[in-house]
Structure formats: structure tokens, C-alpha cells
């Protein structure tokens, strides 16, 4: 009998769902290999179908997206209860992802921005029924801050190869250690097509924003003065951005020896600039206009500080 699988999305863009389909014909093998019992995006299931199941009835749930509403939290907890394994699928579920940058503001600020001072109505009645908007939390959380997570599949979105490998590993029966990130434990440079152009003595006199210059397609992007986070980021993506002549922005998150991705990346980049006097240094950093967005683009909620300080 085939293992039962569930797919669910929380705060995400849908890209992770696409990522599954990106397996192209490979998706058929998945369908063949597992018995999909829940996949709101693709198939017509309802939450109550899941509620109806016995605890642990689902062999493996793939949850993508971060957690930032009461409803997402509820679903996460439900799936946790019903599943033997829960996999955080994609950057948002693993690290908080792009939505995680909302942690620079608060729910109230966002609602005011969109709905004006008094915000949206939480409740309203429609022929006898009362509809209630789920609570919007102040902060975005990675999945493992909501529920215990067994495995992580990194990436925004996870590359087909990563997904395929992950599925294979998980279905193979021989499971890796709980908490494992299902991608190589090396930095991205390792698979970068331009790694040979990486200079011995890295040093910068100024940083450029990627839109400011035409990047040499043959040379290490970091060496061209554009913050490329390849050295800090876990491999497994196949250096897709680099192939597109764009710097790595870190969607695969840190390697296993780094606790706070952005802090480490910042620490590393700052170390290799040429200046030694404070003003000169500040001048060099002027072009890093948005440090949080630069170093924590996908990982703010899973960083030590997690969010902007709440007054």
C-alpha cells in the first residue's frame, strides 16, 4: 500500500506548489509513488477531510509557506497531529522567506496601510452565517516555530533536483537524522560555474547594487563588487541565479554550522572591505542601502532577533 502524502501551503506565493509541478513528467512518478490525501491547490479536499483522519494517518506532509495567521497555525497543528512526518518545504516554511520581511513592521501598520486607520472588519454576517477573518499575527514565523518539523527542503523555490532527491530520500525508507536539511551541506560557490574566477585576495573599495552595473558573465560576481551571498548559502540550487547573471541572495539558507544566516553573511562581507577608518568604511557601506533586505532576504524570522523590535 502506497504511503499517504499531503501538500499544504501557508503564507507563500505559490511558487513552491509550482516547484512540485516543475518536476514535469517526474510528477507522475510522485503521483504513482504516493497516495495524495490532501492538496488544496490541486485537488478538491477540505480541512474537515483531514480532521476526519486518525492521528498519524498521513505518512508525510509537505507544508510550504510561513505561518502568520491563526488559520495557518491551526492547519499546521492539524497536519502535525495527523502526520508521521512533516517536511517544511521551501524557504518560507524553513526560514520565513520573503514574507518574513514583514517582521520589519507590525500587523497594525500593515492593516492601516491597506485598509486605513480602523483596519478591516474582522467579522461579518451573511444570511445567518458569521464569517471571521483569522488573526493576523505581528510576526511571520517559520514552520518550526509553530510545530515540530522533521525535515527541511530549502529554496525559493526548491529546485526540481532538490525536490526529486528529497522525495526519493524520504520514500526510500532509510530516513536521515531528524531536523536534516535535505540539500548538500556546503556553500553554493562549490557548484558555481564561475568559482575558478574567484580571486585569492578578496577586497572591495566599494559595493555596487546589481542594477548599477553590467556584470561580466564570466567572472565571480562578488569579486565584481556586487554582494553575492554564494559563499554563505547552502548549495543545491545548481547556481541558477548565477547562470542568470544575478548574484545569489541566499534562498537556500545557511550551512549546518551557521546559526544566523544574515549575521554570518554580513560578518563575512564586512570583513573583506578595503577601508580602515570609520568614515571611509561608512562610505563603502552606503550602497548597502537595506542591510536587512540584503542579508536576511529569506531568513529574518529564523534569525536570532526574529523581527524588528516591538516598541
Amino acid at each position: 500500500m502506497k504511503p499517504k502524502a499531503a501538500f499544504y501551503w501557508c503564507a507563500s506565493c505559490g511558487g513552491c506548489e509550482e516547484a512540485v509541478l516543475d518536476l514535469a513528467e517526474g510528477v507522475l512518478d510522485v503521483v504513482a509513488a504516493v497516495d495524495i490525501v490532501f492538496w488544496p491547490v490541486a485537488l478538491d479536499f477540505k480541512a474537515k477531510d483531514v480532521e476526519g483522519m486518525e492521528d498519524g494517518a498521513i505518512d508525510i506532509s509537505f507544508v510550504n509557506g510561513a505561518v502568520r495567521t491563526g488559520h495557518q497555525l491551526e492547519m499546521a497543528r492539524l497536519l502535525r497531529r495527523k502526520s508521521r512526518l512533516v517536511v517544511a518545504f521551501g524557504a518560507c516554511a524553513q526560514l520565513g522567506g520573503i514574507p518574513g520581511l514583514a517582521n520589519l513592521t507590525t500587523a497594525r501598520e500593515i492593516l492601516c496601510e491597506v485598509y486605513g486607520e480602523d483596519g478591516p472588519r474582522r467579522e461579518f454576517r451573511e444570511n445567518g452565517h458569521t464569517l471571521t477573518l483569522p488573526e493576523l499575527f505581528d510576526s511571520v514565523y517559520p514552520l518550526n516555530r509553530a510545530i515540530p518539523v522533521d525535515y527541511f527542503v530549502p529554496g525559493c523555490p526548491p529546485s526540481p533536483k532538490i525536490v526529486a532527491d528529497a522525495l526519493q530520500t524520504l520514500l526510500s525508507g532509510v530516513l536521515p537524522e531528524p531536523g536534516t536539511v535535505l540539500a548538500p551541506d556546503r556553500a553554493m560557490c562549490d557548484e558555481c560555474p564561475r568559482r575558478d574566477s574567484h580571486p585569492d585576495e578578496l577586497q572591495f573599495d566599494c559595493f555596487h547594487r546589481v542594477q548599477e552595473r553590467v556584470l561580466d558573465t564570466g567572472a565571480c560576481i562578488l569579486a565584481q563588487g556586487v554582494p553575492c551571498l554564494g559563499p554563505a548559502t547552502r548549495a543545491g540550487c545548481g547556481a541558477r541565479c548565477i547562470s542568470g547573471n544575478m548574484p545569489c541572495t541566499g534562498c537556500f539558507g545557511p550551512t549546518s554550522h551557521v546559526r544566523d544566516y544574515g549575521a554570518k553573511a554580513l560578518c563575512s562581507i564586512a570583513s573583506v572591505i578595503g577601508a580602515s577608518d570609520a568614515d571611509e568604511i561608512d562610505r563603502m557601506f552606503e550602497n548597502i542601502v537595506d542591510p536587512v533586505g540584503t542579508f536576511y532576504r529569506y531568513s529574518l524570522p529564523s534569525s536570532f532577533l526574529e523581527r524588528k523590535r516591538l516598541e
Binding site: 515540530p148 551557521v258 546559526r259 544574515g262 554580513l266 564586512a270 570583513s271 557601506f285 536570532f304 524588528k308
Partner: protein, 143 residues
């Protein structure tokens, strides 16, 4: 009347200058506020930005990094690395709503025992003014 807020400072002192200065303050019996607790590293260049943020996240109200004066680093230029990281980190902390006074980088040579007192007392004073650094409360307990 509520008792005065006692800020907590984690201090990363380099082994050759600032840590020795702190020892000198001791042998000179200079008195200063007990709010700073020292983590000894060989060089201010060893101070990983992760350490600083970890300290803030774990409840430090302030973080102090102490190294040798520019040009005097026991390892030639580790203190410059510290300075660069510090400047960029300050920009990030600003975005995260953390006042720059909460993170201080000071050059204190092995001879400047009294400087340790001045810096720590000043910092405690400032942090009392700023009040505690509250990290956002965990929303939910992870089962």
C-alpha cells in the same frame, strides 16, 4: 517604588589589550558597575556578528566589544575587521529598531584600566536611560 533597572551587558574583550586592561582595573582596585560580564576572545577580530545578535536575542541590553587601539592589534589588523563589521552591523541594528548606544566598540589598551571603568559605567548609565531591550515575545510554544 520599583527598584532600578539593572542592565545586562555582554562584553567581548580581546586577550591582549582590553582583557588585560580589565585585569589592571582589578589590580588597581578601580570600582565600576557589575553589569558587564566578559567573554574572552583572543582578538576583537574573532567576534562574530552572530555572537552580538545572540547576546541581544538572549536578553543582553547592551553589547561591548573591546580591542586594541588601531595600529596596536596584537594580530596586526584584527581590530580593523572588528571595526568594519561593527559599522555595518550598526546600520542593520538601526533597521531592527535597536539604538546604536546598545552596541559599543572601544579601543582600550592594556594600560588603560581606568578606561574600562569609564566605558562600562557610561554604558550602564546610557542603558538605564534607554531601558531594557525587549525581544519580541515568542508567539506560541513549540510543542
Amino acid at each position: 517604588m520599583p527598584e532600578e533597572f539593572e542592565p545586562k551587558i555582554v562584553a567581548f574583550f580581546c586577550n591582549w589589550c582590553t582583557y588585560l586592561a580589565a585585569d589592571l582595573a582589578g589590580t588597581s582596585r578601580i570600582k565600576y558597575a557589575p553589569n558587564a560580564e566578559v567573554v574572552r576572545v583572543m582578538c576583537s577580530g574573532r567576534v562574530d556578528v552572530q555572537f552580538v545578535l545572540k547576546a541581544f536575542a538572549k536578553g543582553a541590553d547592551g553589547v561591548l566589544i573591546g580591542g586594541c587601539h588601531p595600529g596596536d592589534c596584537h594580530y596586526q589588523e584584527g581590530n580593523y575587521k572588528a571595526l568594519r563589521r561593527y559599522r555595518l552591523l550598526q546600520r542593520l541594528l538601526r533597521q531592527m529598531g535597536i539604538e546604536e548606544e546598545r552596541l559599543r566598540l572601544e579601543w582600550i589598551s592594556a594600560a588603560e584600566g581606568d578606561r574600562v571603568r569609564v566605558v562600562i559605567d557610561e554604558m550602564v548609565e546610557t542603558l538605564r536611560r534607554l531601558g531594557p531591550l525587549h525581544k519580541s515575545e515568542a508567539l506560541m510554544e513549540v510543542a
